[in-house]
Amino acid sequence: MMQAQLTASNLACRRGDRLLFRKVSFELGAGAALHVTGVNGIGKTTLIRSLSGLTTPFAGEIRRVGEVGLLDERPALDLDQPLGKALAFWQQVDRCVDPAVAQGELGLERLLEVPVRYLSTGQRKRASLAILLTREVPIWLLDEPLSGLDAAAIEAVTQLIKDHVSAGGIALIASHQQLDIDDLEALELGDYVPEQEEEEDK
């Protein structure tokens, strides 16, 4: 559908004074999916924010071809507004023609009148996914897309990712859950932690 490429070479990121990981390299072309794993606090979110271009990595290079869509734990929806109105803002920003499709697949129609403040974790996550879908971008960076979701929603979201990838998009998913996606590449961030840090831990 669209040209897409996401390349990282020799990437290193730090949080404060601590080096989180280094020498991370990968190359994702159209239709590729990468599952990033690692224990809590290892830097998955930091990696995703660097890849999105919001922050600058400590070292290394990132090359992106195509626009980036980011999904993280923050819903970017006005808490006081009903969900329908809060989503409408992003639909207008993204000039989305038919938002009902995305909302239907994510089971949001019944929630449109509910203020965002009263939505549960899983419902907010589904709403954030709807924002991701209002905009057709080739590169998806998903930070814990499945956390808080029920079984049916997990299946729906997995299907959305599969559809996106088979349409020629790229998906990079940081998740503790197993992902049922074909040809899924894996990246364990624990393999890239600097050695002194490991010794300190022992």
Partner: protein
């Protein structure tokens, strides 16, 4: 995209609209109401000092909206999502400045009319007061926005922003209230010039603060 953003910001901050607060205006009128109780009802004292009280009330009222002005949208990831859609932080902050001023400047100017009645302010002074507030409130909004952006990632940001706004807004207060004492409209030109400089600078300073807040 910019129009949509401005509409959303206004809905969030304008008093009596969904998420906005009318607290600054109430606070402003409350000070004007309390002052005669504190110094006594002598119209001479009131009309001589009333203009200055209105200026102080406006300055303090400008502090109230700062807490929600930037911090909440950083927490919700709003600016990040807009950035990924190609909008610059400077543009986001310019829109926020417009929305912030519209939400507290004009309401304060309108509320000055009942405040002037309570403080027995006469016609020529009221004219200078309204003109001065029209020239000064954009500057107050600009200072407020920059402070809100800088303190957004601090835990005690809300308390700090009040303390920071007061010294920075002194020039506006001195020239704005000074115009009343001397009954001289020329001073308001200086207020307008200060405001203009602040308004021109604020989106860049606030935008830089938001970018810096991402890099922890």
């Amino acid at each position: 995209m910019i129009g949509t953003l401005l509409k959303r910001d206004l809905a969030k901050f304008f008093p009596f609209a969904g998420g906005g607060t009318s607290l600054p205006v109430m606070f402003f009128v409350a000070i004007a109401m309390l002052y005669p109780f504190a110094v006594g009802p002598d119209p001479n004292i009131l009309s001589r000092t009333g203009g200055g009280v209105v200026w102080i009330a406006a300055l303090l009222a400008a502090i109230l909206p700062l807490e929600k002005l930037v911090a909440q949208d950083i927490e919700l990831g709003f600016f990040d999502q807009l950035r990924l859609r190609g909008l610059t932080e400077e543009m986001m902050m310019a829109m926020r400045l417009v929305a912030h001023w519209l939400s507290f400047g004009p309401p304060l100017i309108i509320a000055t009319l009942p405040a002037a009645a309570l403080l027995a302010i006469d016609g020529p002074t009221l004219y200078l007061l309204l003109l001065g507030l029209l020239a000064g409130t954009p500057g107050l909004a600009a200072i407020g926005l920059v402070i809100a952006a800088i303190t957004a990632s601090l835990r005690t940001g809300a308390a700090l922003s009040g303390l920071l706004l007061i010294p920075l807004s002194l020039p506006i207060l001195i020239f704005g209230a000074g115009a009343l004492a001397r009954q001289e409209a020329a001073n308001i030109g200086i207020v307008a010039a200060i405001s203009l400089g602040l308004v021109a600078m604020a989106p860049f300073a606030a935008g830089a603060a938001i970018k810096a807040a991402r890099e922890v």
